[in-house]
């Protein structure tokens, strides 16, 4: 029992309980990527500006809903805990933020100077690789970011999510470029898999942790 519990294991267990045990984070992730898979369709209907407004409003609503559901459903079943800010945690989060910002910067540069970037890439790589270079790079970053999170927080399914989202996005771009499919079907399938895992985890959580598990009066 306690003789095999290291501080690192304790930290991982706390992170799992606080963030991943109830499956709500998975459901949020699934819904966000499901919205992104419909993004090109709504952009064609609404135009880029209104589409972005719609997406940001949806994202805000989902985050607010997640917070409210977590407060109303998870906290009474799991209890309250505030994690301590440790140097290791700061390093992991810092690395994730830097990786995300570097990718975002690269994507913005590519979109801002498409000719220069496309010329540079196709001079080195074959044309099809040039078409998919940015999405391939993004897929690699997504896999790396999710893998780092999975390893650091001890949540194995995040490795799967990285591959699902990364490859789903890449396949969606390939379908759009070469088959003219507007709807991001592979990304939608990946999102539905993540949503299903989240739903199963939530059902298991509700069964495993009853709401009346706090006999404070007995203290």
């Amino acid at each position: 029992m306690a003789d095999s519990l290291t501080p690192r294991q304790a930290q991982r267990r706390i992170t799992q309980l606080v963030n991943y045990e109830d499956g709500l984070w998975d459901i949020l992730l699934g819904l966000v990527f499901l919205a992104l898979s419909v993004f090109p369709v709504t952009r064609a209907l609404l135009g880029p500006a209104w589409n972005m407004v719609l997406f940001l409003a949806l994202l805000t609503a989902l985050i607010v809903a997640l917070t409210a559901v977590r407060r109303g459903v998870s906290t009474p079943r799991l209890g309250r805990a505030r994690m301590r800010w440790t140097p290791q945690k700061a390093i992991v989060i810092g690395l994730l933020v830097v990786t995300f910002l570097a990718t975002l910067g690269l994507v913005i540069l590519t979109l801002r100077f498409p000719q220069r970037f496309s010329g540079l890439v196709t001079s080195i790589l074959p044309p099809w690789a040039g078409d998919l270079f940015v999405d391939g790079l993004m897929a690699a970053v997504v896999v790396v970011v999710f893998s780092v999170m999975g390893y650091a927080f001890g949540v194995a399914r995040l490795f799967l999510y990285g591959w699902l989202i990364g490859l789903g996005n890449l396949a969606s771009t390939a379908l759009t470029l070469y088959a003219g499919v507007v709807f991001n079907l592979p990304l939608a399938v990946a999102s539905i898999v993540i949503l299903a895992i989240g739903a199963v985890l939530l059902a298991r959580f509700l069964r495993k942790y009853p709401a009346d598990g706090a006999p404070e009066a007995q203290e």
Binding site: A2, P7, L78, G79, R80, A81, E216, A217
Partner: protein, 109 residues
Amino acid sequence: MTAAKVDRAGPRAVAAVDRIIHEPARLMILTYLSSLEEADYLFLTRATGLTWGNLSSHLSKLEAAGYVEITKRFLNKKPNSLVRLTRSGRAAVRDYSRTMRQALTQIKG
């Protein structure tokens, strides 16, 4: 017990470790609390797997030793107790960890 004392006394010094912390369930509670700012009783039962009564009894001992601080309050008209490691509790866990590590190193040779 300090690390210097362990060096002098060798592995026999393990017998003099802090008995309050040395009990497996209390060590587990303190290990969890070391990673937390604070947590309530319910969270600690979920994390440790201890029963309510068992946890309560161990926390009382830790509170009596000055290693944890328990704040009782009401949330939505229900009693809720928050537990946090005190400064001396954190130092005691650190000392215990160092003492045990050195003693085990000496035992292994």
